[in-house]
Amino acid sequence: MDINTLTIDGARALVESREVSARALAEAHYAEIESRDETIGSYLTLTKERALAQAERIDCLAEKGDPLPPLAGVPVGIKDVLMTRGERTTAGSRFLEKFVAPYDATSVEKLEAAGAVCLGKLNCDEFAMGSSNENSAFYPVRNPRDTTRVPGGSSGGSAAAVAAGFAVATLGSDTGGSIRQPAAFCGVVGLLPTYGRVSRYGLIAFASSLDHVGPVTRTVKDAATLLEVIAGRDPMDSTSADVPVEKYSAACGRDVKGLRIGIPKEYFGEGLDPEIRQAVEQCIDGLRNAGCEIVSVSLPHTEYAIPVYYIVATAEASANLARFDGVRYTTRSPKAKTLADMYRLSRDEGFGAEVKRRILLGTYALSAGYYDAYYRKAQQVRTLLTRDFQNVFTTVDAVVTPVSPTVAFKLGEKANDPVSMYLSDIYTVTANLAGVPGISLPCGNNHEGLPIGIQILGKHFDESTVIQLAHAMEQQL
């Protein structure tokens, strides 16, 4: 058993055949984490007791020869923005350092009901705000492919853990690229489901019109399998859609011949690393050879996506983070004597610089006199961006783009320049704004051996086509 390349089907087969017990599989992962995660920093909390109890349950089923659920014994990690009952859930923030979740997120509950073994909680940028994982209040995550570089963010721990052999698969969250960009930086697969496809109940909210929960895995098929488990309508999340869940894994291996693929020229402009352009174009040639029809398309409002995103996301964040008030969530400044002081000092002590910056920007954009100029304007341009996708999807089945203009950058390289950090999300924020699904998968390495990612975006609730294409690409590499 090679723990670094184990897939969901592989892990499940080991447990089913009783070649390796679920318990031994979990323990093998903990041994790896304990010996190497000090360098990487992917986990914030290990949930051993819970994991081993679940592993015992699976081993009992296997011993009796009972049919096993789809994720039986599969060791997984959970981004620390998802609630896990009775376990510390911090969102990477000092504010929630001691917060113990009172209930499980629906996605976590579904994973465990499907037999997965949750090993622990994964490091991330504070409240999922960041593109490098350097905004974690506890410690940064390092890229397992080159520890002088960032793993991407905000689901940096989720991607690094999968790349380093610390979990077979993980859950992340994606508000502007937070699953797809770290997957690209670490050389793994990250899936952004359609808005409403996966319940957000129990996800600590950042920007509610943009937040998604989704999987990070080693293979496209694993991402499809995980999505099958976590997708679906949830009465606890009124934004979860009442749309049937497809057998996404069945799309793997389906012939891609005849599919029409759009290449949006706006995603191949200035600022794109030439090596990434080359790798992505090579991959597109592969699709052409497999019988796809490749057409040039235009998403003309792409250049406005970053400004729209950083208004909408921060405005929503300023409202969502108002709940951290010093009354309910563990942190209260001991210096506070009055109610007003309690709010201000608790928030001052609990929040890091990036969180404060975004709350201030969002509050500014919503404040009297600026609401129309910024917030309403951004919402109007969001309409135009969404129309771009609706138009393009009348003529093509999917679009293919790079994930990020650069490969993983060095720790500290962009830490003091928020605008340059924000611009690194240029190819990913559009999908969140339009609510369409997407996937990021590896498409080669640059001359330094750093992974390059390619992105496929699809029609609303058409994850199957995205997965079908991604699987075909994966087979060619």
């Binding site: 934004t239 950083y310 009055t338 404060k356 609706q390 609303h460």
Partner: protein
Amino acid sequence: MKVTEKDVAYVADLANLELTPDESTRMVADLNSILGHIDKLNELDTSNVEPLAEVISAFASAERKGSEKFAYAQRADEVKPGLSREVALANAPDTDGTCFRVPKVIER
């Protein structure tokens, strides 16, 4: 400079954030640089464009209008068990066992 120290202080007050003088200086610079980039939106004429607050209704079936698009999200108004008081208070920094306790609100 669009945003001044005074603006930052005003917004920080609205958001209930405390900023040190150093933080405040830094935020003035950061907000100006971010807003400078955001001003790009003014290149677009949006006078006849509806604002989009969420994507579900934009993609929901065309026959359904307004709140009908969200009919699936309705549920019966039934009493169901929620978090117990003990669990709900467990993360609070200060309680009296029944309620959250906060500093005195009204001074006599």
